[in-house]
Amino acid sequence: MVHDRHGRCDHGDMKGRILVVDDDTALSEMLGIVLRGEGFEAHLCSQGDLAVAAFREFNPDLVLLDLMLPGKDGIEICREIRAESGVPVVMLTAKGDTVDVVLGLESGADDYVVKPFKPKELVARVRARMRRTDGGRPESLEIADLAIDVPGHTVKRGDEHIALTPLEFDLLVALARKPWQVFTRETLLEQVWGYRHAADTRLVNVHVQRLRSKIEIDPENPQIVVTVRGVGYKAGPA
């Protein structure tokens, strides 16, 4: 059965390497089982203060991060990972309604899953974040004074290279591909995050802020990613 699944999804050896940071060993073990069952390579880490070291050592494609951890809390770990890498971070949280979510997103997490979640839900989130815009076809976009190389995953202002996380890059590309179109938050959630149903629009708000802080000359007065009041966002006039 596992073999069957492998055969269906495998395009090489493994689908991806996932670092699971959670202090609840039963849950991490279960997460490991489910992820491995889906063909991922999972590495477990149960202590907050060891998480960053484990991240460097394991070099995952995605991090599943519990927010409440002994040693060092998830927010801090997320910030440290973000400081050195754009690897997607998905938070596991028991409090979907509190400021924790916003705090987590602001510290750099790409997405979050609220406990208790169904395994399918988690796998869908993980897949959505690890999905890569297929390279090959060369595509370059220009928006304002930014040059975007889509397959190369790079954004440049003149000669200056701007480092974006994959999520921020996807967000910018989605907007820049159709600069004439206003995207609602729901549309962006679907296109960039891969949500089929309505989800938390705070995801969009927080990440647009993060994107702006990197690409805008004056983030307080954005020219590239413009808010359209009552509707959503659009890429500013080139």
Binding site: M1, D24, A26, L27, M30, L31, I33, V34, G37, A94, K95, D97, K115, P116, F117, K118, P119, K120
Partner: protein
């Protein structure tokens, strides 16, 4: 017309100041007037008595003198006639002065001849009564009179003393002494003015004193009232300032003691309820991590159930379905604890209630499928647009409909939408077993079940309607229930079209028109536990 009067009455009733000061003024005016009258009377009579006594003595002396002069004058008639004039003049000279002390008149009525001692007063100054008394009874008499002057000066009050004078050969003459009371009049006028002024000052002073004294009592009372109002408005740390040892200080101390004990009790209750809510929330959160693990484990088992023997496979299935139920219960508990903690917030957009109903009904069709329950939607003729939180309104509708499906016994459901200027409403009507008397107020209680022995087919958490009620209340709307045994039940959700406005009436009646009449009357109990059946909104609890 009634305006100013009404205002005065209100002011009179509401102001202790006004009442006390006005009453004091009225009573003191009365006292001063009576006192003034009595005083004035005493002084007047005292002054006049003294004057009277002095006048009589004076007149007696004059009479004696006149008698002596006349007797000494001899027998000659003509000479006597002549001599009466000088006598009068001589007598009158005793009254010289400014003003004159007295005037003297010497009259002989028998000869109709009269002479004046002093040429300033007229004969009319002597009243007829006095003259006849002196003439006829031949005794000394006296009376008050008005002295009329010849030179046209205004007449003054006076005292007249008359006595018969025996003139040998001529018979009787009458000697009248006229004492003007000008001085006494002036004294009395002065006394009256003084009394009037003193009375006025006294009244004003009393008014001021009463105001001052009232202030000493009323101000602390008003202060106490203000503090008590603050306190009851929720500022539990408000205290009165205790000054001195008097009754007001005692009042302040008692108030403070009461406030302190209330604050303590309320604080304890709040702590208790906070601890409890915190506990519920913590428990729910703590349960989530193990539940996630169990959930995933169950899922893995469930995925592989085909490989198990029938008993184990069924167990995996049961595990899966019951976990769904457990999860629903947990999330409902969390939702309730959020309401209890006051942490629930509205995420409002403008939407059409019809759309919400359509999507919820579509989502619930699988639930209605097993019992072949038909759901009939009766839309309003106009769009039912309102400001609401779609997530919460969807949840209310889902709860109402799921509840109706569960209790409909396969009978069709009616969902009716109503719109008015101020509100939109949706009524969910089932024709199932209905509710027994009194139950319509219980349905919104947590974990309440109409019939504990009844099998739960859909397996709600028992919190659905309680959450729905809280959701409605959060919108400032109503959620009410009606039911009759055997006649089904009816739930009505009324939401204001503009958030934050009060609803005065729902666009739809709560009692369905198809309800059996005789059952309708006693059972049309409105409302959830704390929701008023009519009236302005349900925000009465917070």
């Amino acid at each position: 017309m009634a305006g100013p009067v009404g205002r005065v009455r209100t002011r009179w009733r509401s102001s202790l100041y006004l009442r006390v000061v006005a009453t004091t003024l009225a009573l003191s005016i009365l006292v001063v007037v009576v006192l003034g009258q009595v005083l004035m009377g005493r002084i007047t009579s005292g002054l006049l008595d003294a004057k009277q006594r002095a006048s009589l003595v004076e007149a007696q002396a004059g009479l004696n003198q006149a008698q002596a002069l006349i007797t000494a004058a001899g027998e000659d008639n003509a000479e006597r006639n002549q001599s009466l004039e000088p006598v009068a003049v001589q007598l009158a000279s005793g009254g010289q002065g400014t003003p004159r002390l007295y005037d003297v008149l010497l009259l002989t009525s028998s000869t109709s001849l009269y002479q004046r001692g002093s040429s300033t007063v007229t004969v009319e100054s002597v009243p007829d009564d006095l003259r006849s008394a002196v003439e006829n009874e031949d005794v000394q008499a006296s009376t008050f009179t008005e002295i009329v002057y010849i030179d046209g000066r205004p007449p003054v009050p006076g005292f007249a003393v008359g006595a018969p004078l025996t003139v040998p050969g001529l018979g009787t003459a009458e000697l009248y002494y006229l004492f003007p009371l000008t001085q006494e009049q002036q004294t009395l006028d002065l006394v009256r003015r003084t009394l009037l002024f003193a009375g006025l000052v006294l009244v004003l002073l009393l008014g001021w004193i009463s105001w001052f004294v009232t202030r000493q009592v009323v101000d602390p009372v008003r202060y106490a009232a203000a503090i008590a109002e603050e306190f009851s408005a929720g500022h539990l740390s408000e205290r009165m300032t205790v000054r001195g040892e008097d009754d007001l200080a005692r009042l302040a101390r008692s108030f403070n003691d009461m406030a302190a004990s209330l604050e303590l009790k309320i604080g304890q209750l709040e702590d208790l309820s906070r601890v409890q809510r915190r506990f519920v929330s913590d428990v729910s959160h703590e349960l989530r991590t193990p539940l996630t693990t169990v959930r995933m484990a169950a899922d893995v088992l469930h995925e592989s159930r085909d490989d198990f023997d029938p008993a184990t496979a069924r167990s995996a299935e049961l595990l899966q379905t019951q976990l769904d139920r457990f999860e629903a219960l947990l999330s409902d508990l969390l939702e309730i604890s959020r309401f209890d903690a006051g942490a629930a917030t509205l995420d409002v957009v403008e939407g059409d209630l019809h759309d919400a109903i359509t999507s919820v009904v579509e989502a619930l069709l699988p639930l209605a499928e097993p019992t072949r329950t038909r759901i009939r939607i009766h839309q309003a003729s106009e769009p039912a647009t309102a400001e609401f939180d779609p997530r919460r309104v969807d949840r209310i509708l889902r709860n109402l409909l799921a509840n109706a499906i569960e209790h409909s016994d396969g009978q069709p459901l009616d969902v009716r939408v109503g719109v008015s200027d101020e509100a939109v409403a949706v009524v969910v009507r089932d024709h199932g077993t209905g509710l027994r008397p009194g139950e319509s107020s219980l349905v919104f209680n947590r974990f309440w079940r109409a019939d504990p022995s009844r099998v739960r087919s859909i397996g709600g958490t028992g919190l659905g309607l309680a959450i729905a009620l809280e959701d409605a209340r959060l919108h400032g709307g109503w959620l009410q229930a009606w039911g009759a045994p055997g006649d089904g039940a009816c739930f009505r959700l009324t939401l204001p079209r503009v958030l934050g406005t009060d609803i005065s009436a729902s666009p739809l009646p709560l009692e369905p028109s198809d309800a059996t009449t005789e059952r309708r009357m006693p059972l049309s109990v409105g409302a959830g536990a704390r929701t008023p059946p009519t009236g302005s909104g349900v925000s009465d609890d917070e």
